[in-house]
Symmetry: C2
Subunit: 224 residues, 2 copies
């Protein structure tokens, strides 16, 4: 168990350092009045497609910006480039050692590329992973999770830290509901068990279902 003890001390030191940098990011966001969403999910749950639908709907109403996190490639940033919003891709591999999450320092490095004073809402699309992204605050105002129904009902119980840290859960790919053995009631019960009272919206980034409701939620957060 020696190794585990060492690992815990290392993790605590890393998280302390991260919190200090997250606070520094937070101060920058406060200076520019930028509201920041940390968007998290499994790989392939539909974060980028939901972002496409969000940018289509809110562009012109809100000044949006995006920070894309991925281990490798600029594929997601490339998909969003057509919207001509402030956009930066942070790869966690070169320079950051292939990390499975964004931390405050990586976000800080990406912020240098963004004109924050022109961004009302910054959406940070985290690396697809249901574990570590939840451990690292990056200075965000809120956390939104995308959970695809293709992943099964048990995910809130198996990855409770992630689901517990979300202020809103977008239950995505509901257009596939009739083709899956997915028990929505059971999923929502599991979600309620780990994060009582958390709101959710049923979405399909593909058909557009729920996108208006999600965008309204977002606009309400800004106007508060």
């Amino acid at each position: 168990m020696h190794r585990t003890a060492v690992r815990k001390v290392v993790l605590e030191n890393v998280l302390d350092a991260n919190d200090a940098l997250a606070q520094a990011n937070r101060e920058r966001f406060d200076q520019t009045g930028t509201y920041v969403i940390n968007l998290m999910s499994s790989p392939g749950a539909g974060k980028t497609t939901l972002l496409e639908r969000t940018l289509e709907r809110l562009r012109g109403k809100l000044r949006l910006g995006v920070l894309e996190g991925d281990v490798q490639t600029t594929l997601d940033a490339d998909r969003l480039a057509r919207f001509h919003v402030p956009l930066v891709q942070v790869n966690t591999d070169p320079g950051f050692g292939g990390e499975c999450h964004l931390d405050a320092n990586m976000v800080r490095s990406g912020l240098t590329e963004l004109p924050l004073q022109d961004v009302d809402v910054l959406i940070i699309e985290n690396v697809g992973n249901l574990v570590c992204p939840a451990e690292f605050r990056v200075g965000e105002d809120t956390r939104v999770m995308v959970s695809s129904i293709t992943e099964g009902e048990d995910k809130p119980l198996k990855y409770p830290l992630m689901f517990r840290s979300a202020s809103l859960v977008l239950v995505n790919k509901v257009d596939l509901l009739e083709h899956l053995d997915f028990d929505m009631e059971q999923f929502l019960g599991n979600l309620e068990a780990v994060n009582p009272g958390v709101p959710h919206i049923l979405t399909s980034a593909r058909t557009g279902q729920g996108v208006e409701q999600w965008c309204s939620w977002l606009e309400q957060r800004i106007s508060v």
Copy 2:
């Protein structure tokens, strides 16, 4: 960048320690003649359901055992208990600090609960995650990945280390193909780009498609 350099040194030390423990696990597997598969995927890609189909088909032909890895809960082990094969659940949360992957030490701790001398094939179901599990060898003979088509075509490019380390890719949930905008040719091209020549099998754990082929692959590996 100071923090990144420190993180890299820490990671290298951790991986060196892991390799030594993986070698110790390897020696135990060699002593008992146990063939070991490290099964990896995103959360909810269908590893456990594939295991159910595998145990249904191969139980009685091969002496199978399972080591289940999860951050929390024994849900997966509970699902497999009805097969009455040697089975152990390793939770990475209590005692291991909420790790997003199995490492050699966690596997070692689980092995004490398994009668390895009675197990021809041990399947290790790793934590659902496309990044870190690929960094940690646990003493396995081979790595098999499950990639669900619901996750999109781009995943091999975005998580290349994982796809590159697999000796076989089970392309799962193909029963949903007609309901998705999934381009199989593009996915297989991306897979070939990061892991040239790697074999794949189209599977549906739900309908049973491809399960026979996967089990044949497995039996061939044992008989070599």
